[in-house]
Symmetry: C2
């Protein structure tokens, strides 16, 4: 093999191993592995020790990793449950998007941040990463409780709406400034795409099942799902949205047959291989030198706003429920995760946000992810445990930890 | 996402879909899918229609694909069976390597080909791809017969020996000419590495099992296997061998626990995603304009030598067996596959062989892969079917089709 491949292989090996070592250490002190993988990139990357300076090829592989990450999330999200979980979850999701976006944007605007930076950071404050919450709730065996169900449904809508907002933002920014007609077109495209992918695409896949069964290609369902994942990623970028949105919907289209075709563990395997490069690459792009006292204070204030706004938004949506249920849902919706980080990374890549704003989002994500677990353990009670075994809702819970 | 990623995504999508479409069409006319995927690269690539001109990133992803291809082959090869199948298979493998190499090299030398080109082509003529054979024999339900068992064992040794010969060749060529001391050192390193990986590494993995079970990382066995795959690939190149050799041995080290840890379908999924890029990239590097009448005739003569030498070698190794058994094993060992193609591609990348020689190997691989199946169906008889159901040897049969 030629020398270039050798150094690529060496980088792949080093990044994979270090990301996993940091992840393992984080897991051992009961912190999310994903934060460890990002920290590996920060510590070993070009802005700190300079031990591993990822090449362009690594960054490309990292972006393919982001695509498979969202593809897997889609695969674990049942479109049927999404439709059934219904109004309460949708209300929580919408309120939980509007409150952080408006409060975050208003605060940053008041602090005289440039409008597009404020918009990107505010969008990053929107999307809930339910993985951490689902893991805590599963460990406590309270996943079937009403608040848990609301959280799981809302988190899914949250992802979709968050990604649509991101799509609109990216498209607006890349066309240079807010153009209302353009914004309307992209918004309509995004919503149309989402509705098609939630209501129609799963039926198309269902209809095609006999044909898929007759295909000669080995592992035909997996091959088709991968092809759709790549195809919709391309289509999303053509529609002016982020590629990950298409990947998510590709997963969603196959979600109902994920079990039958054994897709989830196999998509997860591709994910296991590729996602460390994504998180490492993400960490490696964080310039530590921008984190001074000012940035630290600002990011902590933003974290407080992110936490408060989610709880407030959820509570407004849940008026009529008990105070304790409002808190359970609000705290459960608090963690920000992959989507926030992806939004920030896209902003950085498009040169729409500065290194400083990128650092703000990463610190905000870390704080909102680290704080909720102990409070969730306090809020949920033994009475939230199921009286009867029931497996109906386990399908929408398997998010990334 | 930035425009570069967009075009990367578009290329990934186009290549994946076209490779699979060609593969599906080939399967439908009962030809190996892999030949279809290569043909897609030839037809759509830069030397023909120029519809898809793979970028450097695609070629890098293709080489990672080759690594996972051999990793999966290793994972499907039980080191225990390898040791047990024993002397007959080893004899067939050794004779089946020496005969094609010596005859191929002698013929090309006589035709005044440059020494290093002759050596690369001769090495490409060595390694059996048992996937096709195994599939035909499985369809006929004669996998448990003595000739089938000899074939499967010999094909595995063949791979290992073929890759060791490749390692020695690459290292010799890259150090500029045959240096006997260097050759000896690399040969010893290669054999030492192989012996360590066959006899010691699986025991090390066995010993580490309790520790692996205690790891907090999600899917720890898969993560470790992937890390070892990347690590040994790097190590192989450092020892002066091809990266794929390390990848193969990494798979072999985990093969005994592949079932318990559900590694094989998950490694296969990574393979399903990456290998189309490898085969497409391979096809896209075939310059059709070099295939004139002369090259066509020469490649057909080489194919005849490749077929005859495997049958002759196997027969010599099987003296004492019936003529029909000799033929069964000889014909079964005839198909050349991935390894031949990888050898040729490495030669092309190192600029050690010309486009013309690359074309020779591709045609030879196609011919030796397409011819054997009908003859195998003629040679094997109903009496080769098992009297009793027995699942002992299915472990070394699951090669790639």
């Amino acid at each position: 093999m030629h020398p270039e491949t050798n150094s690529l292989l060496l980088q792949l090996f080093m990044i994979f191993v270090w990301a996993k070592v940091f992840g393992e250490l984080f897991e051992r002190i009961h912190l999310p592995a994903v934060l460890g993988e990002i920290l590996a990139g920060v510590v070993l990357g070009p802005f700190a020790t300079r031990l591993i300076v990822p090449s362009d090829t690594i960054h490309s592989i990292a972006e393919i990793g982001a695509i498979f990450l969202l593809f897997t999330v889609g695969l674990e999200t049942s479109p049927g449950s999404l439709i059934r979980v219904g109004r309460v979850s949708l209300r929580v999701a919408v309120a939980g998007i509007i409150a952080p976006f408006v409060l975050g944007f208003a605060f940053l605007h008041w602090r005289h941040e440039p409008t597009h930076e404020a918009a990107f950071i505010a969008v990053a404050m929107v999307a809930t990463s339910v993985g951490i919450t689902a893991r805590v709730l599963r460990d406590m065996d309270v996943l079937k409780s009403r608040p848990a169900q609301i959280i799981l449904g809302a988190a899914v809508f949250d992802d979709i709406l968050g990604m649509l907002v991101l799509g609109v933002l990216v498209s607006t920014v890349s066309s240079g400034g807010v153009q209302w007609l353009h914004l309307g077109v992209v918004g309509a495209e995004a919503i149309g795409f989402a509705l098609f992918m939630i209501f129609i695409a799963p039926r198309v896949v269902n209809r095609l099942r006999p044909r898929i069964a007759h295909m000669q290609t080995q592992d035909a369902p997996l091959v088709l799902a991968l092809a759709l994942c790549l195809g919709l990623s391309v289509l999303s970028t053509r529609l002016g949205m982020a590629a990950i949105i298409g990947a998510f919907f590709a997963g969603l289209a196959f979600a109902d047959y994920s079990h039958q075709w054994n897709l989830e563990p196999r998509a997860q395997a591709i994910n296991q291989f590729l996602s460390p490069f994504f998180f490492f690459s993400m960490g490696s792009q964080l310039d530590l030198s921008v984190i001074d006292r000012n940035v630290l204070v600002l990011s902590l204030v933003l974290s407080v706003i992110a936490i408060f706004s989610k709880i407030a938004g959820s509570s407004v949506a849940l008026i009529g429920e008990s105070w304790r249920n409002m808190m359970k849902v609000g705290v459960g919706m608090t963690p920000r995760g992959e989507v926030a980080l992806i939004v920030a990374l896209i902003g950085l890549k498009m040169q729409m946000i500065s290194q400083r704003s990128y650092a703000l989002v990463i610190v905000m994500t870390a704080v909102t992810t680290l704080l909720p677990p102990p409070f969730l353990r306090m809020l949920f009670e033994p009475s939230d445990r199921p009286a009867l075994p029931d497996d109906d809702t386990s399908r929408i819970t398997g998010r990334i930890g």
